[in-house]
């Protein structure tokens, strides 16, 4: 069921004292182990922090974006979270149509000036860079790879991948090693994000060529790549978006870290702004970072950990530029 288990119920929505949060997913489900799920976790947490109510609708057809947003807006919801950059336009239009409702667009860069729409964006390239940097220190063969479930026409996908490649390069240079440039493949087509078997087979193809660090990014396709890499001892895999230690448990044998976008935190922060009245629209740059090492914590040399920490700080602050175009 879609309603959260909070004490507050739906009847308060549209009334003076209700605080209701609606969430519209992109194509896919709130349990997609990916950005929809992260955003929904954030919405639920925000609801419980602020004593509000949260509910979602799952989009089945991109042509319904506007209609799905309208469901919440018409019902008097206070905040509507829309997930995915494909929904940017529909969200912008809705923000003009419903000036009293606040909109939070996850992964949406907002170029306009409306005060009730905030884009929650992430420098994915930085997250990719950090894990790539780690990968550059972990590899023994010097061969690292990124598998993108999804085409390079989708900016978050491309930025993760290119950031990773840059990060590996940075680590190689730092160590004075002559690694080949990190390899990457992009998968396009009808099943770009939802073909785990393709992800797995492609990971296997890399593993057979002695690649030992594999960053597998992009929905279910990427998850397939992680799960497969876990079968080869000595190989490392890196997840994406959330800490995939929890969402793809079958990958735990290889999962050193994940390139994270802290979507839930961003959503919570922005909804908090709405609640306390400081929400002002514009873009909100969310945090990125590497997930904990979990089982690998003891296996990664502490000097490497320290280096990663330093580089993370520098990349986040902008001292180190990733060189990835936005």
């Amino acid at each position: 069921s879609s309603s959260s288990d909070k004490a507050v119920d739906e009847s308060v929505c549209g009334t003076e004292d209700g605080f209701c949060i609606g969430l519209v997913t992109d194509i896919g489900k709130v349990d997609d182990k990916s950005f929809n799920q992260s955003a929904w976790e954030g919405a639920q947490e925000a609801a419980s922090i602020n004593g509000g109510f949260a509910k979602y609708v799952e989009t089945q057809d991109p042509k319904d974006y506007a209609a799905n947003i309208a469901l919440f807006a018409e019902a008097g919801y206070n905040v509507i979270v829309t997930v995915g950059f494909l929904m940017a336009e529909a969200t912008a239009v809705a923000s003009e149509q419903y000036p009293d409702v606040k909109f939070i667009g996850v992964d949406q860069f907002y170029a306009g000036s409306a005060a009730n729409y905030s884009g929650l964006i992430f420098p994915e390239d930085k997250a990719g860079f950090i894990v790539g940097y780690l990968g550059g220190y972990l590899t023994t063969s010097g061969k690292t790879a990124a598998i993108a479930g999804g085409p390079d026409s989708i900016p978050p996908v491309r930025k993760f991948i290119e950031g990773f490649v840059a990060g590996v390069g940075y680590a190689a240079k730092e160590q004075g090693k002559n690694f080949p440039k990190a390899s990457s493949v992009y998968y396009t087509g009808a099943n770009a994000f939802q073909d785990p078997a393709w992800g797995a087979s492609t990971a296997q193809q890399y593993l057979d060529q002695d690649y030992d660090v594999i960053f597998s990014a992009g929905g279910k396709t990427g998850n397939g790549g992680l799960a497969r890499t876990a079968q080869k001892s000595g190989a490392y895999c890196i997840g994406v978006d959330t800490d995939q230690w929890g969402t793809v448990p079958e990958a735990q044998a290889c999962l050193v870290t994940s390139a994270m976008k802290l979507i839930p935190q961003g959503v919570v922060a922005l909804i908090g702004q709405v609640k306390d009245g400081s929400f002002a629209g514009g873009n909100y740059v969310g945090d990125v970072g590497a997930a904990p090492y979990h089982d690998f914590d003891s296996k990664i040399p502490s000097e490497v950990k320290t280096k990663v920490e330093e580089v993370t700080a520098k990349v986040i602050s902008g001292e180190i530029a990733t060189g990835v175009k936005p």
Binding site: S2, T59, D61, L86, P151, P155, A190
Partner: protein, 349 residues
């Protein structure tokens, strides 16, 4: 009486499907009454809802017709999806790149261009079948992927909207947009006209007779002076043109531009609808309205009753099952022969 008989099976099928759907909802802890109430009010009772239903039904109906033409001509066109995308993209291009035309010329031109590009994809499959003997099931499956990749490339490359971060074409000009009359999308009326047209072609014209004869007995067709190969190609071209046209209507009437994700699944729903309609062009329209209405109301059902939208797929599957399986007609002792074959298999040719 014949009218009632034609409708009674589908109605009972719908009823059973909704009943099973209700049980599934209860097992998931949702309220079926609330869910169905919201479904009917949003899909069929308000002006806005009807507009949405018909809007969704439009491309489904047109691609369904494209599949019907194939079935009638003995061809199983799995390629409506690729043909539709090709038409949608071409119409988007024509809609923004061709400037200075009045609406009355621009819209038809874009539709024609969409149909034309759809027909090219159909032509490839038809010609490979007629002249190289390659089965249309292979070629149309392969072409779906090829066209999708091309569309991905074009909408992210040469045809990409300047400054856009996502892969899509610019918005089509206002002169290329199809609006609505009386609040209902014009595209839907077009699809109705097309259905009548297709029905009438098979009922009344020599072209329809040619297609159908080729579909039923290639040897007799050849013997009777029907150019089998040419008509095979021609039928696939017609399928492609129709599906491409459907894509164009979608671009000009609903989406306003081309974005790869926006047309997914339409051609495949078209196949299901064509089968539900048992290859009868007129029956495609109610089939498409059912699909359009249910698909359009999915989010509302989830909003108001918390039902996950997969229930819609299940209900549609059950409808298809009971409309086409000879259960209801046997129980009611109806003489409508639901076991007649609408497809010709694919071994014999």
């Amino acid at each position: 009486m014949r009218f009632i008989r034609a409708w009674i099976t589908p109605l009972i099928a719908l009823f059973i499907a909704f009943a099973i759907g209700a049980i599934l909802m209860i097992t998931q802890g949702s309220d079926p009454v609330k869910a169905y109430q919201s479904l009917f009010t949003t899909a069929f009772s308000t002006q806005e809802g009807l507009a949405k239903t018909f809007g969704k039904a439009t491309p489904l109906a047109i691609s369904g017709l494209a599949v019907v033409i194939g079935l009638r001509a003995g061809l199983f066109n799995i390629g409506a999806q690729g043909q539709l995308i090709s038409g949608a993209l071409a119409a988007a291009w024509a809609g923004y790149a061709i400037t200075g035309l009045p609406m009355i010329a621009h819209v038809p031109l874009c539709l024609l261009i969409g149909g034309f590009f759809g027909s090219i994809v159909g032509y490839i499959a038809g010609a490979l079948k007629a002249y190289r003997g390659i089965h249309e099931v292979i070629t149309t499956i392969m072409l779906n992927s090829i066209v999708l990749q091309l569309a991905e490339y074009l909408s992210n490359g040469p045809l990409k909207e300047e400054g856009s971060i996502i892969a899509r074409t610019p918005e089509v000009l206002d002169t290329a947009k199809i609006g609505s009359v009386a609040g209902l999308p014009i595209g839907f009326f077009l699809s109705g006209l097309l259905a009548l047209g297709v029905w009438w072609i098979f009922k009344k014209t020599t072209t329809g007779f040619r297609f159908e004869t080729v579909g039923k007995n290639k040897n007799a067709a050849w013997y009777a002076g029907i150019a089998v190969k040419r008509n095979t190609v021609f039928a696939m071209v017609a399928c492609g043109a129709l599906a491409g046209f459907g894509g164009a209507v979608e671009t000009l009437g609903v989406v306003g531009k081309f974005e790869p994700a926006f047309n997914q699944g339409l051609g495949f729903d078209g196949i299901t609808i064509a089968l539900l309609a048992r290859a009868n062009p007129l029956a495609v329209i109610p089939g498409a309205i059912l699909f359009g209405g249910m698909r359009g109301a999915g989010p509302t059902m989830q909003f108001s009753a918390g039902v996950s939208p997969e229930i819609i797929d299940l209900i549609l599957a059950i409808v298809l099952f009971f409309v086409t399986a000879p259960i209801i007609s046997r129980i009611l002792k109806l003489k409508n022969d639901t076991t007649t074959q609408v497809t010709s298999g694919w071994g014999s040719n």
